[in-house]
Symmetry: C2
Subunit: 345 residues, 2 copies
DNA sequence: ACATGATAGGAAAACGGTTGCCTTTTGTGC
DNA sequence: GCACAAAAGGCAACCGTTTTCCTATCATGT
């Protein structure tokens, strides 16, 4: 028989309302009473029922977790999961639990995120996406539900976002290559309609031109962020001669796919061609050669997302966006032998 | 202004109770009325509020997700995440959403899972663990809350579990090595008190003896499933001569660590020593040499867990346990050159 | 001792559904 | 057309909290 607030009230010789006030630190209650009520709660291990509380307050202390866009992977995406894990612990410390929207529950074809937020009376949502996304997410963004996006641009009245500074991603890669006398560079992006991908592509081209380096249409390929698509993109590049001196793929998985294509053709990395990926997933360290990459600061992104969402929920703050600086991680796939000049530390 | 069941009732010209019955397919309602009510619901997009429904029914259609034990990783564990992802979709189709327990919310030191289940009125829990675990999980297991464990042995009155057949894991590895004329094998297990690890270790030793092969105390090492611990365990093995002909590590990450240790010492894999891991994480395919492993059937485990939990919740079924067969995946780290005899397909 | 304001705590409505029971309507057989 | 059973749907209590408003008590200054 589960204990209710009335049982506690009876035991402590007060009214239910008073117990509620003690629990929530509201109203005017004497220290003596507080002590007494606390003691009963302590002894009985009483905990208010979530649904009753939620019903009365219209709050849930629950954050919805949405994997939007065509991320084929979801709970098993290497980069996003690290971010989500940091987020989970950070938001937990702020007093929230996380609700993962399972798909297929409501309408079959249409993910109605907003309806589900209202259904559960979620306090806010974390939207994870590698991409600009479906209507359902836009609808949610435009609603008054507090949302924080990771790697997605949100502009709703109560939405913030945090993302790696995509201009700096390409800038870092191109600058590094320039400093190492590499001139001819290919690019493997995400889907053509991916906002993130296009930002990186534009910035890539801009910086290539800025430094007087070379790229060309045949070298600008698109994939879907996954391994196989990188493999195919690389093969498309290989079909056209000449070969570039380096390839920048905007996900590690695609870079690994490119690596596989090169291995298959007997082209040596980094001697004949350098490869740089992006994300710094675990597999980078175990591939052969190990994969140079642009690392996104997962810890910082996760932490920021949690605090931004909390602030948004409390109405403390206007919607904002934060760009997190990426960091170049040089590994074997980009080692450059220049006879002692300009080597990498 | 959010719509309530009363609004719908008014619009449809019926009582709230009737609307409820239409929604839940209970009571005796005429087809005509059902149509009318349905239409209004459709047009307005009305959805019952979770907390109110949950309060009234004492059910939540929510499944708690617990990462128990000393899995340092959580939402970012490569193997478990794949399982959880399958589970999430499967359980979603059965009408549940998932609540992830954030840590640190309730008592600082003590995870009170049971209390939180009651608090949220969860219908059931999925317990993920690489290991036998804390008191809080045991308490939950022993309660009447329906639980399904993955890779953990549960014996509570309402608990089932599904796990890879750990005997067969070691059996498959040892048999394969035996068939390829390899006699001397080392073993890198998990923590000494890990039930799973000990099952695999016992079965490893049993099969080694059965085939008249050789292992010894110096070759039986323990780690914590993560990369660094595999590295260290391998170094401990290397300190003692002679070298075994093969090493079986019960996680891929530890196997990768072992690989790193061998590389560092200039010992070639698979020529001088073979390595086999376990789990079949992504990185296996990208390591050099690519890593042979024992694959756990994540798809099947996730699906089974979902359906077993659903059955348990509905009281359709007695607690059970299911063992899923593992599958050996041979890759470069275990390639065997025998001059044409007994090669691997 | 008294008016006054502050403080403590109680009563009850509200939150949005569900459900058992009871009444009304409908259909059936004669 | 009538008695009766079955079907349809309304009523109201209930789920466990919160919160507003109100009253009773208490301390204070005069």
């Amino acid at each position: 028989m589960k204990l209710t607030i009335k049982d506690i009230a009876k035991m402590a010789g007060v009214s239910p309302g008073t117990v509620s006030k003690v629990i929530n630190h509201t109203g005017n209650i004497s220290q003596k009473t507080i002590k007494r009520v606390r003691k009963v709660i302590e002894e009985t291990g009483y905990q208010p029922t979530f649904s009753a509380k939620s019903l009365a307050t219209k709050k849930s202390n629950l954050i919805g977790l949405i994997y939007a866009g065509n991320i084929n992977a979801e709970l098993n995406h290497p980069f996003f999961n690290d971010v989500v894990n940091v987020f989970k612990n950070a938001i937990g410390n702020l007093g929230y639990d996380i609700l993962v929207f399972s798909n297929n529950k409501f309408s079959k074809d249409k993910q109605d995120y907003l309806a589900r937020c209202r259904h559960f009376q979620l306090d806010g949502c974390l939207i994870i996406a590698g991409d600009q996304i479906e209507e359902a997410t836009t609808e949610l963004d435009q609603s008054n539900v507090p949302c924080v996006g990771v790697d997605i641009i949100l502009n709703g009245p109560n939405s913030s976002y945090v993302t790696t500074d995509n201009n700096k991603v390409s800038e870092a890669v191109v600058t590094h290559l320039y400093l190492n006398r590499i001139k001819e560079v290919a690019f493997i992006g995400g889907p053509e309609d991916s906002v993130i991908s296009n930002l990186r592509k534009e910035s890539f081209i801009k910086n290539i031109n800025l430094f007087g380096m070379l790229t060309k249409d045949d070298w600008l390929q698109h994939g879907d962020y996954f391994e196989e698509s990188g493999y195919q993109a690389m093969n498309r590049i290989l079909e056209k001669s000449p070969l570039p001196q380096a390839v920048f793929a905007i996900s590690d998985m695609m870079a690994l796919g490119a690596l596989r294509a090169l291995k298959e053709k007997g082209i040596s990395v980094p001697e004949e061609i350098k490869i740089i990926g992006c994300d710094d997933i675990e597999a980078c360290r175990y591939s052969n050669p190990s994969l140079a990459t642009v690392k996104q600061d997962k810890e910082k992104i996760g932490q920021l997302a949690a605090h931004m969402l909390h602030d948004l929920i409390n109405g403390d703050v206007q919607p904002t966006s934060v760009l997190v600086d990426p960091e170049l991680v040089i590994r074997e796939s980009c080692f450059i032998d220049m006879g002692g000049t300009l080597t990498n530390r």
